[in-house]
Symmetry: C2
Subunit: 262 residues, 2 copies
C-alpha cells in the first residue's frame, strides 16, 4: 500500500470510524477490515455527476473528502436536494441493490472517495458481521436524517428550517473533525441552500439577511459564521440526539456476538 493511500486510510479511520466509535468498539481488527476494502481512492472534480438521475448505478463509494449532493430534478425545472453526503458517509449505497437511480449524485466540491465495487463489498458483508453492523448503523443514521428533514419540510417555517439544517450540518461536520465550529466553509450557493430547504432562492436570501440583522449568524461567500449558537438551536428546536446517538445499554448481551469478526 502506498503512502498516500495509507494516509487516506488514516483519514478514513478518523471520519467513518470516529463516527461509529461512539457506538462500536473500534479495534485493530475493525480497522483492518476497512483497510482491506478501502484500497481504491478515487478523485472527482467539482461538478462531476457520479450517477445521473435515471441512470444506472455503478459502484458504492465511501466519501473521504468533499461534499456530494443527492438531488431530484422536477419536470418544471425545480430541484429538491434530498441529502448532503459528507465525509464518512456512503455514496450510492443503493447500488448494492438497485439497478437505476431516481436521483442525481453530483460533487459540489473536489471529492476523494474510496471505490467499493459492489461485488467486493457484497462478499465482505457475507464474511464480516462487523461490516454489516456498520452498514446497518450508517443506514439507520441516514434514515434519521431524512426523517428529521421530513419534519422540517412538513411543519417548520422557512426560518426554522434554515436554522435547523445549519445546526444539523454543523453537528455533522463536527463529527468529521472540522477545524473551527464558529467559522465554517459551506460550499453551497444560496440557490442550493434553498433547494435543500424547499423554499425559493429569494426567500432564502431574505431569511439569511434576517438572521444577520438579528446577530445570530452570517453566511457570505460560502463562509458561515455563527454568532449566537444557543439562539439558533432554540429557534430550530434542534436536539442533536439524532446525530450523536445514545447507544442502548440495556440489551448488550447480543452485541459482542453480533460484532464478532466473522
Amino acid at each position: 500500500m502506498e503512502a498516500q493511500e495509507e494516509a487516506g486510510l488514516i483519514a478514513l479511520a478518523e471520519i467513518l470510524l470516529n463516527k461509529i466509535s461512539g457506538f462500536f468498539d473500534v479495534d485493530d481488527a475493525v480497522k483492518a477490515t476497512f483497510a482491506e476494502i478501502c484500497d481504491d481512492l478515487q478523485e472527482f472534480e467539482a461538478g462531476t455527476v457520479i450517477v445521473p438521475q435515471g441512470g444506472d448505478y455503478g459502484d458504492v463509494y465511501l466519501l473521504e473528502r468533499g461534499w456530494v449532493m443527492r438531488s431530484r430534478h422536477m419536470e418544471n425545472g425545480a430541484r429538491q436536494i434530498v441529502n448532503v453526503v459528507l465525509p464518512g458517509d456512503f455514496v450510492a449505497m443503493n447500488a448494492l441493490l438497485f439497478a437505476r437511480s431516481d436521483f442525481e449524485l453530483s460533487c459540489k466540491t473536489d471529492v476523494s472517495a474510496y471505490r467499493l465495487p459492489s461485488e467486493k463489498l457484497g462478499n465482505a458483508l457475507t464474511r464480516n458481521a462487523m461490516l454489516s453492523a456498520a452498514l446497518f448503523w450508517v443506514n439507520a443514521h441516514e434514515e434519521s436524517l431524512l426523517a428529521e428533514r421530513i419534519v422540517s419540510l412538513g411543519r417548520r417555517s422557512a426560518r426554522q428550517r434554515t436554522a435547523h439544517v445549519l445546526c444539523e450540518l454543523v453537528a455533522r461536520l463536527q463529527i468529521t473533525g472540522v477545524q473551527s465550529i464558529e467559522q465554517l466553509m459551506l460550499p453551497i450557493s444560496q440557490e442550493e441552500f434553498s433547494d435543500i430547504l424547499g423554499i425559493s432562492i429569494v426567500h432564502m436570501n431574505k431569511t439569511l439577511r434576517a438572521f444577520e440583522r438579528d446577530n445570530i449568524l452570517s453566511f457570505r461567500n460560502s463562509i458561515l459564521v455563527i454568532q449566537n449558537k444557543g439562539r439558533l438551536e432554540l429557534e430550530a428546536g434542534f436536539d442533536k440526539g439524532y446525530i450523536q446517538f445514545t447507544r442502548r445499554n440495556d440489551r448488550n448481551s447480543w452485541r459482542p456476538n453480533y460484532l464478532e469478526i466473522g
Copy 2:
C-alpha cells in the same frame, strides 16, 4: 407451533416474503429462518402507543396486520407523520441500535405484529447472512420512501402531494396483497392525512373535494375510490419504480454468495 401461528406465518410469508421475493430467491430455508424468528405474534388495539416520543425503545416488531404511524409532535401542537408502516414492514427497527425514540409509534388500527426481541434478532443476524440482506433491503426500501416524501414536501403542491401519496399507498398496499385496488380502506382521518402531507386540515379537505369534482377520486368514510388512476398518476408525477425495484443484474456474481444461509 399452533395452527394460528402457522396461519400467521403464512400471512407473513405472503407479505414480507412477497415483498422481497422480487429481489431474493425465497426458498424453504429462508422461510424456515423467518419461522424461527417470528414465533411471538402480539396483538395491539387501535390507539396503542407502542413507543412514545422521547421514550425508550423496546423490541423490534414485524407488522403482519394493521397500520402503524411514526410521527413527531411539535412544540406548537402541530404534528408531522413521517411514515406509515404497513404489513410486511418493520416497526422500530432502530431499537436494535438506539436507546431513545425521537418519534411516536402508534397503532392506527388493531394490529398484529411479530415481536422480535433485540437479542434474538441480533443473534440471528450474526448467523444468517440472508436475514442481514433482507434487513438491508428493507432499510433501503424505507429510505427511498422517505427520500420521495422529501421531494414531495419540498417541491410539490398540495394537490400533487395528495395524488402522490395516494399512488404510493396504493402501490404499497398492492404488494401486501390487498383485495381491490379500485376501492380501498384507508384507516386515516383527513386530519392524519394532512399531517402526512404537511398541509392544514382545511386545505386537505378542499383538495380532496377538488379531486372529487374532477372525477379523479373520492375519499369518504375512510374509503378511497380511484376513478381515474392514469390522471392521478399523471398529476402526481408518480413512477412506481421506487416501490417495486428493478433488481440489478449486471453484478450478480456476489449475490448468491451473500444470500447463502450461514
